[in-house]
C-alpha cells in the first residue's frame, strides 16, 4: 500500500541484514584463527576488529547524506566514469560472490562432518543454493523480512555456546595482555575479516527510508556482532584453552558439544541446524546483492534473470574451495586485500563526493528528496 520501492526496509530489518551479513561462517572458525596469533588475548583483537565496520558505517552515512537515493555503484559510475566505475564496481561486487560461495563451501564442510555425512557436496550445495536463490529472487522486501524473522527466531544460537561458560577455567584467560600489544594488533588481521560483510550497507541503504538513521542502525548491529564475537572467543578460550583451540577446525562447534541436556543428547545438533538456517540467510543476502549489482553492471538481464543465471555458477564456484584447510588458506590470502580495497574505494569515493558538492546529480537528488 503506497509503499515506495525505495522505502522498503524498516530499521530493524536493516539491522538484522547487517548482523546477518557480518556473522558469516567466520564465527565458527574465528576463535581458532585469532588465538593462534594473539593467544589468550584473542578476544581483545576480536573486539578491536570492529573498527573496520565502524569506519565503513561512518563513510556510508556520509555518502548517503550527499546522495540519499543512489547506491555506491551509481555514484562510482558518476565519479570515475562509466568504464573505470564499472570495473571498480565489479571488484567491489566480487566480495559478495566470494562471501556467498565461501559461506556455502564452509557450510558444506561443517555439514558433512557434523550433520549429513551421507550426502555428497553437490547435493548439499544444490539444496543450499536452490532455497537461497528463491529468497534472493523475492527481492529486498523478502530478504528484509526473512532476516528479521530468522534473527529473532533463531536468536538462541547466539546464546547456546555461552552456556559452556560454567565449564570454563578462568586461568585459561590469564594473564590478560600477556601476549603483548604487538600480537593483539597482528591478530586484527584475522578479525577484521570476520567483520567483512558490512559492505552490503553501501548497496542497500537507498532501500531504507530517509527517516531511518543508518549510523545508529549500523552501530547497533556492530555492537551486537562484536559482543557476540568477543563472548564466543572468550568462551572458547575458557573452555578449551589456547592450545586445544588451535587444534580444532571449528572450535565453537566443539564448545556447543559440551552442553548436555537430558533427552536431547547433544546440543550440537540443535545448534547446527539453527546455525544452518542463519547461514542460508547470509548466503541469500550476498546472493541478492550480487545479482542486484550485476544488473547495474549489465542491464540486459534484470535482477531476477541474474539470480537464475548465477545459480549454476554459484554451485560450481563453491565446489572449487576444496578441503577446509585449503579453503581457509585461500580466504586468508584473498580477504585481507579485498578488505583493504574496499576501504580505499569507499574512502576515495567519499573524498571525491565531498569535492563534488553542488554537482548536478546531487542537486537533482536532493530536489527529488524534498518533494
Amino acid at each position: 500500500m503506497g509503499t515506495k520501492e525505495d522505502n522498503v526496509l524498516t530499521e530493524s530489518q536493516l539491522m538484522c541484514i547487517l548482523i546477518g551479513s557480518m556473522t558469516g561462517i567466520g564465527v565458527l572458525s574465528l576463535p581458532g584463527d585469532v588465538i593462534k596469533i594473539s593467544k589468550q588475548d584473542g578476544w581483545i583483537s576480536v573486539f578491536l576488529g570492529a573498527v573496520y565496520p565502524i569506519y565503513m558505517v561512518f563513510i556510508a552515512n556520509y555518502i548517503r547524506k550527499k546522495y540519499p537515493k543512489a547506491d555506491i555503484l551509481d555514484i562510482n559510475k558518476k565519479i570515475y566514469g562509466r568504464f573505470f566505475g564499472s570495473i571498480f564496481n565489479l571488484i567491489f561486487l566480487l566480495s559478495f560472490l566470494l562471501a556467498a560461495t565461501e559461506v556455502a563451501a564452509g557450510i558444506n564442510n561443517v555439514l558433512r562432518i557434523y550433520m549429513v555425512p551421507f550426502l555428497n557436496r553437490w547435493n548439499i550445495l544444490t539444496v543450499l543454493f536452490l532455497i537461497t536463490a528463491y529468497a534472493a529472487y523475492g527481492g529486498i522486501k523478502t530478504i528484509g523480512r526473512i532476516n528479521e524473522v530468522l534473527f529473532y527466531g533463531t536468536f538462541i544460537v547466539y546464546i547456546i555456546p555461552l552456556f559452556a561458560i560454567s565449564k570454563g577455567n578462568i586461568l585459561n584467560l590469564k594473564p590478560i595482555f600477556g601476549s603483548g600489544a604487538l600480537n593483539i594488533i597482528k591478530g586484527l588481521k584475522e578479525t577484521v575479516v570476520a567483520y567483512a560483510g558490512i559492505e552490503v550497507l553501501f548497496i542497500i541503504y537507498p532501500f531504507a527510508g530517509m527517516d531511518i538513521n543508518i549510523k545508529k542502525c549500523g552501530l547497533k548491529s556492530i555492537a551486537f556482532t562484536s559482543t557476540i564475537y568477543t563472548l564466543f572467543t572468550i568462551v572458547t578460550i575458557l573452555y578449551l584453552g589456547i592450545d586445544a583451540t588451535s587444534i580444532f577446525l571449528w572450535p565453537l562447534v566443539t564448545v556447543t558439544e559440551s552442553i548436555m541436556i537430558p533427552v536431547i543428547n547433544s546440543f550440537r545438533y540443535i545448534f547446527s541446524s539453527l546455525w544452518v538456517m542463519n547461514m542460508f540467510r547470509v548466503i541469500s543476502i550476498n546472493y541478492y546483492t550480487f545479482s542486484y549489482g550485476l544488473n547495474k553492471f549489465i542491464k540486459k538481464f534484470d535482477r531476477k534473470a541474474w539470480v537464475i543465471i548465477l545459480f549454476p555458477i554459484m554451485i560450481i564456484l563453491s565446489t572449487l574451495y576444496g578441503s577446509p584447510t585449503t579453503r581457509r588458506d585461500f580466504l586468508n590470502m584473498i580477504f585481507l586485500p579485498h578488505v583493504i580495497y574496499n576501504v580505499m574505494l569507499v574512502t576515495i569515493t567519499a573524498i571525491l563526493v565531498a569535492f563534488r558538492k553542488g554537482d548536478d546529480y546531487a542537486k537533482k537528488d536532493e530536489n527529488s528528496n524534498n518533494d
Partner: protein, 497 residues
C-alpha cells in the same frame, strides 16, 4: 381497450427481461371498487411472501380505494402513501432494474398510463434460522452464526456495530446468477486503497456464477497458487466485528454463511475469539500451544525419520532400546510407515467429514482403534511410529482455522520427504523455504508474515485487553488508536486518596 393493450405491452417487455422461461406470476386486477383502472402485480413464485402480497397489496388496492384514481396526476405517489401498507416501497423508472428486482423476490405494480413502476419489498421464501456456528463452536462467546440470507447477515453485524461510519457497499456479480455481494468496512478506520483495490478486482470478475464466498475470493486473491489461505472466512459475527474494528474489510455473499475478511495475515489463523474472554495467562498459554502444535505437525514426523535413519546416536540410549524393540520384524521403512499411516489418517479425516455424525463415530472407532491396533500387530508399523503420527494428528486439531490446519498438514508431507532424503539439512532447508515463502506473500499489499513491535502483544501471547491501545500495525488503517489507557484512572484514584 387501449389501456389494456398498453398494460400488456409493458408486462410483455418485463417478461422478456426477466426471461420467458421464468415462472413470472402476472396478477391483473382493477383498482378500486368503482373505477375501472387496470393494473397488474408481477412477482416470481417462491421468492415472495404471498401472505404479504395478499393482505397488504392486493386487498387494500382492490377493496379499499374509494376515490377515482384515473384522474389524478401522481397516481403512484397516492397509491404508495395511502394504500400500500408495506414499509419498503419505492418508485422505479428503469425497466431493467425492475426486472432485477423481480428476480430478487420483490413485486412490481404496473399501470398502463405511466412510465413508472412501484416496487414493493415482498421478499420471502424459507431460510435457515440463526443457529450455533457448528464449525466454530466456542465455550465462552456468542452463539450466533451467520446464515445464508445476506440481509440477515448484515443485520447481525449492524446490531453489533452501531457506528455511523460502518459502510455497506453492494455489488452484483455473476452473469447468470446475479449474486448479491456486500462489502462492509468502517470508513474512518479501514484503508481506502485496499477497499478500492478489492472493489476493482470484484468489478472485473466476469463469470457465469459461483457457489459461495470461498470461490469468489479465489477469483480476486493475489496469490492464487499459495498453499496458505488467502482470506479469512468465518461463520461468527463476533469475529467479523473485531476484524472490522481492526480496519479489515468484510465481504458478505448472498447464499453463503461464510463471511470473508481481507486483508489477511498469518497470525489471524491462530487467534480465537475465546483468547480474549479468557484470563490473560490462559489465553497466552493456549496461543503458545497452538504455535507449538503447528511446529509439531510440520516437523515431528520428519525429525523422527531423520533420527531413525541417519542420526540414531542422538536418541538417548534408553529410548533407543525401546525403539529397536518395537521395530523388530517390521518390513516397511520408518519413512514408508509414517507416510502410509499419515495417508490413512487423511482418509479417515476426509471420509469422516461428510459422514452423518452417527456413522462418524463408527468410523473413528474402526479407523482409530482397530486399524491402529491391527497395523502394529500385523507388523506394518511400529508402535513408536504410530505414536508420532498420533501426536502430529492430534496437534492438527489445535489450529483453530480448518483451512489453515489443512495447509499446515499438507506442508508436513514435503517436509517428511526432505527429512528422509536430506536429513536434518532437509528439515532446516524446508523451514527456511516455508519462512521465505511466507515472507514473499502479500494480501492486497499487506505483508502476510511480518512482525511489528506493537503487534507482538497479540501474536504469540495475548496481553491484557486493556493494554491493546493501538490497532494492529500490520493492517493499514487511518485511525490507529483503539482505546485510551483508562486503567490509569483507577490507579490514580487508589493512590490519590
Amino acid at each position: 381497450m387501449e389501456n389494456q393493450n398498453l398494460l400488456q405491452t409493458k408486462i410483455n417487455s418485463i417478461k422478456s427481461l426477466v426471461g420467458e422461461k421464468n415462472e413470472l406470476i402476472v396478477r391483473e386486477f382493477v383498482i378500486g371498487k368503482s373505477s375501472s383502472m387496470d393494473a397488474a402485480l408481477l412477482y416470481i413464485n417462491g421468492l415472495t411472501n404471498r401472505q404479504t402480497i395478499d393482505s397488504d397489496v392486493l386487498r387494500p388496492l382492490m377493496f379499499k380505494v374509494e376515490e377515482d384514481l384515473a384522474v389524478t396526476d401522481n397516481l403512484e405517489d397516492i397509491i404508495i402513501k395511502k394504500y400500500i401498507s408495506i414499509s419498503n416501497v419505492f418508485i422505479e423508472q428503469d425497466i431493467n432494474k425492475v426486472a432485477l428486482n423481480i428476480k430478487r423476490g420483490k413485486s412490481v405494480l404496473v399501470f398502463p398510463g405511466t412510465a413508472k413502476f412501484i416496487i414493493i419489498d415482498t421478499i420471502g421464501g424459507e431460510y435457515r434460522g440463526i443457529e450455533d456456528p457448528i464449525n466454530e463452536t466456542s465455550v465462552r462467546a456468542s452463539r450466533e452464526g451467520f446464515v445464508e440470507k445476506l440481509e440477515t447477515n448484515i443485520s447481525l453485524i449492524r446490531r453489533r456495530i452501531k457506528d455511523n461510519s460502518l459502510v455497506e457497499e453492494r455489488l452484483v456479480i455473476g452473469r447468470r446468477t446475479s449474486t448479491d455481494v456486500a462489502l462492509l468496512y468502517i470508513d474512518n478506520i479501514a484503508d481506502i486503497n485496499i477497499v478500492n483495490d478489492i472493489k476493482e478486482r470484484l468489478n472485473a470478475i466476469d463469470v457465469d456464477g459461483f457457489s459461495g464466498s470461498g470461490m469468489l475470493e479465489q477469483f480476486i486473491e493475489c496469490y492464487p497458487y499459495s498453499i496458505f489461505p488467502q482470506s479469512f472466512s468465518t461463520e461468527r459475527p463476533d469475529i467479523v466485528q473485531s476484524d472490522l474494528l481492526e480496519g479489515r474489510i468484510a465481504m458478505l455473499v448472498d447464499g453463503t454463511s461464510f463471511v470473508v475478511t481481507f486483508p489477511v495475515v498469518l497470525f489471524e489463523f491462530f487467534q480465537t475469539i475465546e483468547d480474549y474472554s479468557e484470563r490473560t495467562y490462559l489465553g497466552s498459554f493456549t496461543r503458545l500451544l497452538r504455535y507449538i502444535a503447528a511446529f509439531i505437525v510440520i516437523t515431528l514426523p520428519a525429525i523422527y525419520v531423520t533420527f531413525i535413519k541417519f542420526n540414531p546416536e542422538l536418541i538417548p540410549l534408553k529410548f533407543l532400546g525401546a525403539i529397536i524393540e518395537s521395530r523388530k520384524g517390521i518390513a516397511l521403512t520408518p519413512f514408508m510407515s509414517i507416510l502410509s499411516m499419515n495417508l490413512i489418517i487423511e482418509f479417515l479425516r476426509e471420509g469422516g467429514l461428510r459422514l452423518p455424525s452417527k456413522i462418524g463415530q463408527t468410523l473413528s472407532v474402526v479407523g482409530g482403534i482397530i486399524i491402529g491396533d491391527a497395523a502394529t500387530k500385523a507388523k506394518i508399523v511400529s508402535s513408536t511410529t504410530l505414536l508420532i503420527v498420533g501426536i502430529a494428528t492430534v496437534a492438527t486439531f489445535l489450529i483453530p482455522n480448518y483451512e489453515m490446519s489443512l495447509s499446515i498438514r499438507l506442508i508436513s508431507y514435503p517436509m517428511l520427504f526432505l527429512g528422509n532424503f536430506l536429513g536434518m539439512l532437509g528439515i532446516a532447508a524446508g523451514w527456511f523455504f516455508v519462512i521465505t515463502y511466507l515472507c514473499t506473500l502479500e494480501s492486497y499489499g499487506v505483508p502476510y508474515f511480518k512482525f511489528y513491535k506493537n503487534d507482538l502483544k497479540d501474536i504469540f501471547i495475548r496481553e491484557p485487553v486493556w493494554k491493546m491501545d493501538k490497532r494492529p500495525e500490520i493492517i493499514p488503517n487511518v485511525n490507529p488508536t483503539r482505546q485510551s489507557n483508562f486503567r490509569n484512572l483507577f490507579r490514580r484514584k487508589k493512590h490519590g486518596n
